[in-house]
Point group: C2
Chain length 227, copies 2
């Protein structure tokens, strides 16, 4: 799980509150921008704690210290803010992981660091992972966009790494999805359902699986080609 590096997904400078296009009603003043941010932050809490279905607009606005009416100045519907939230969180996730793997000397290291960073991220943003997962059924297109952005960057990175000989050849798109799947499920298991297992251990085990697979290790042959 380490899709990035310098992902910017073809998008222009992302504002603090997100790209204009995703919510029809962009604020025009500083005050408006602050309000929008308050709504998104409140929504992250509300949706994260209660889930899309049980969450209410009233819950969001009261957390934000605003009135219900204000909500509809910024978003067309409950679903709209949910979508915006997913996109907002995509930026957050990419930023976090990108930062941590920036210094990795090669892809295999990046993968090790990446899984660890991802679990760590989920532990510190449990709600985020919950929300993204829920987007699966609430806003499938937003969910897809979230992971496709990820997968695409991942694929590119794998391809480049393969070209440099750091990893073996293969179908990199598929590998990207498989690796994302690993991260996502380990996130649930070891960050949300229980978070007492040592992160480094998880990272090491996952990193090893990603690097070497399950095949028995020839006790004699060296594991790497060059070095």
């Amino acid at each position: 799980m380490a899709g990035d590096g310098e992902i910017s997904t073809g998008a222009s400078p992302e504002t603090q509150t997100g790209t204009q296009a995703e919510n029809a009603k962009a604020p025009k003043t500083e005050r408006g921008r602050r309000t929008l941010r308050k709504l998104l932050d409140a929504a992250a809490l509300e949706f994260g704690e209660r889930g899309f279905h049980d969450a209410s607009i009233a819950g969001v606005t009261s957390r934000a210290g605003l009135s219900i009416g204000t909500f509809y100045v910024y978003f067309d519907s409950k679903e709209a803010i949910f979508r915006a939230l997913v996109a907002d969180m995509g930026r957050l996730t990419r930023g976090w992981i990108g930062d941590r793997i920036k210094g990795a000397p090669d892809r295999l290291t990046a993968e090790r660091v990446g899984v660890t960073a991802y679990i760590e991220f989920v532990r510190e943003h449990k709600n985020l992972h919950r929300i993204i997962t829920e987007a699966h059924s609430v806003a499938p297109d937003a969910y897809r966009a979230y992971y496709e952005t990820f997968a695409e960057a991942y694929r590119r990175n794998l391809e480049e790494a393969a070209a440099r000989g750091e990893i073996s050849d293969g179908d990199h798109e598929e590998r990207a999805w498989a690796l994302i799947g690993i991260g996502s499920f380990l996130g649930w298991r070891y960050a949300i359902w229980s978070d007492d297992v040592d992160i480094a251990e998880i990272g090491a085990a996952a990193g090893d699986l990603i690097e070497n697979g399950l095949a028995p290790r020839p006790p004699f042959a060296p594991r790497k080609a060059k070095s």
Copy 2:
């Protein structure tokens, strides 16, 4: 993705409609059992097509050719039937995959076959995969139970395989979750979002990743220990 073999999960002979405990109101006559099955089948369609939120009890009962009142003879709530459905589908999935990997000579083969079988399964039961995923937020405990049953069997199989020297040593529980994650995400990507990629290809690529990881292949050294 190939958790089973002869999974029976410590449970006693499972009836066609499921273990008694999971829905408080077990039918006592043959007629009742048929009705219950009709409801579950109808619910699979309704929830699968419309999602938990948009699905309605009326939708379920009308698909089943029954009245709303009947529904509440068998289930206490919308959520209750959803849970029952998840459990019901767990049995189905385990059966399917177990059947396909039964003949595998060793674990690595089982893994290859397993991923392929899983994608195939999802392609033929798209609704099922959707429902399970939605259970993530609608009935987290049922969701967990579903995957924990899976992971537990998986872990056991991996451990036994390691003891036989078919795979390398390592943390098998974690590996189990990682492998499940691979299957789940590949299922979404290559069975639901698009299902035109050749299954054998996916299975081969995933199998290779699972077997050998990403590490570059020494062009000289043999890949397997014994043979």
